[in-house]
């Protein structure tokens, strides 16, 4: 009998660097109140957003992914040739064919990369990070560039007062590679496909949400999944330095933080609030928040952070990471 050879496995992985990109155009609540029935106060009260960034017509999802991915490589001190795989988490490509990852890899300079898109909506980055970590551990990839990029404004009806105030554009990225000590904990992921209709496309064209039902799901079902991710990594809530939930709505972020604190997380745990100035950028929100918090000095290398994504599908995924 002929045995098959396996790729050499590695024990542990970590995030080697992060980067992000946002379009230049800032859109304030007052700007939106000029084109729809809303106010600055109403938006701040409901979702906690003060301003967000919209991409102009000539700035594509793949452009933003290229910029964020290149910055993550630079932050890691690596060259494109140090990476062999690119995963592009997204749910807002303009068309299903071609995928985005192959062209993004080529433009960044990762020639001949293993490259694929991954759609788990707003949970996409955590799904992709877990996949990347396991690819490296299994020896299928040496280093993986994980990008979350979205152009949600292509899929939101511009005067829809429920959704146009929330969603925005941007990209975030992380480089995953081998490590001596574990820097990425086990991913805890899952889905609730029976609730698929809560977040969908109206007329196959515009994002639609059952707002109250989504809010109820996110504020009651996600904290227990976050706790499972902590348990999987062997981390007690009190050991958590940073919480970075998907930036869906500031009130959801705060509800998740409150439940984790009730479970023992510290009062001084840093909680991502990047949504205030970035809006909800779906799969880009977690790496973008991490990069912004790193640049602002709110998180430092070695901090223990919990990432938790959740959204359409419904889908969810989370893991504990050590900040690079």
């Amino acid at each position: 009998m002929t045995g098959l050879r396996l790729a050499p496995a590695v024990q542990a992985t970590r995030i080697l660097g992060v980067g992000s990109f946002q379009p230049e155009r800032v859109v304030t609540n007052d700007d939106l109140s000029k084109i729809m029935d809303t106010t600055d106060e109403w938006i701040r009260d409901r979702v906690g957003i003060v301003e967000r960034r919209f991409a102009d017509a000539d700035l594509k999802l793949v452009d933003m992914a290229v910029f964020a991915g290149s910055k993550a490589l630079a932050n890691a001190g690596l060259s494109p040739s140090d990476v062999d795989t690119v995963i592009l988490a997204n749910c807002t490509m303009p068309t299903p064919i071609p995928n985005g990852a192959a062209q993004v890899a080529d433009r960044i300079g990762v020639k001949g990369a293993g490259a694929f898109d991954l759609n788990a909506a707003c949970a996409g980055f955590c799904y992709a990070l877990g996949t990347a970590s396991d690819l490296v551990r299994a020896g299928s990839a040496r280093r993986v560039l994980v990008i979350g990029a979205e152009k949600l404004t292509d899929w939101v009806e511009p005067t829809d007062r429920a959704n146009a105030i929330i969603f925005a554009d941007g990209a975030g990225a992380a480089v995953v590679g081998p490590a001596d000590e574990p820097g990425i904990g086990p991913v805890v992921w899952g889905s609730a496909g029976d609730l698929v209709d809560l977040i969908s496309l109206r007329d196959d064209r515009w994002i639609f949400q059952e707002g109250q039902s989504v809010f109820r799901w996110a504020t009651t079902q996600i904290a227990p999944i976050a706790q499972r991710a902590l348990d999987a990594a062997g981390i007690a809530p009190a050991e958590l330095d940073v919480l970075i939930p998907h930036q869906a709505n500031l009130r959801i972020v705060e509800a998740i933080a409150k439940k984790l604190r009730a479970n023992g997380a510290r009062a001084d745990m840093v909680v991502a609030d990047d949504i205030v100035h970035s809006g909800n950028t779906s799969s880009a929100s977690i790496p973008m928040a991490m990069d912004h918090m790193r640049a602002a000095g709110r998180i430092k290398p070695g901090d223990v952070a919990l990432l938790i994504g959740f959204g359409a599908g419904l889908s969810y995924a989370g893991q504990v990471v050590i900040c690079p």
């Binding site: 009260d45 409901r46 059952e210 707002g211 109250q212 039902s213 809010f215 109820r216 504020t219 009651t220 709505n249 009130r251 509800a255």
Partner: protein, 83 residues
């Protein structure tokens, strides 16, 4: 709860929940008050109130039923009927 709560007990419990979720003084939470128009409670806070009421009273308040609970009295009656 071993016994069904009285309507007065439900009202008192709702008052405490509304205070915690929305910062409304419990004395203002009376049966005739509209959650939205009188107590200035938005649709997302209504979900938080419903979730806490479910835990406290052991009832289910689905989102489509929640939309029908316009006043505090509507909520008291709903809980009393379903507990």
């Amino acid at each position: 709860m071993s016994e069904k709560p009285s309507e007065a007990e439900i009202l008192e419990g709702l008052g405490e929940i509304v205070e915690e979720v929305a910062g409304v003084a419990p004395d203002d939470v009376t049966a005739d008050k509209s959650f939205v128009d009188d107590l200035d409670i938005d649709s997302l806070s209504m979900v938080e109130i419903a979730v806490q009421a479910e835990d406290r009273f052991g009832v289910k308040i689905p989102d489509d039923e929640l939309a029908n609970l316009k006043t505090v009295g509507d909520a008291v009656n709903y809980v009393a009927k379903h507990v």
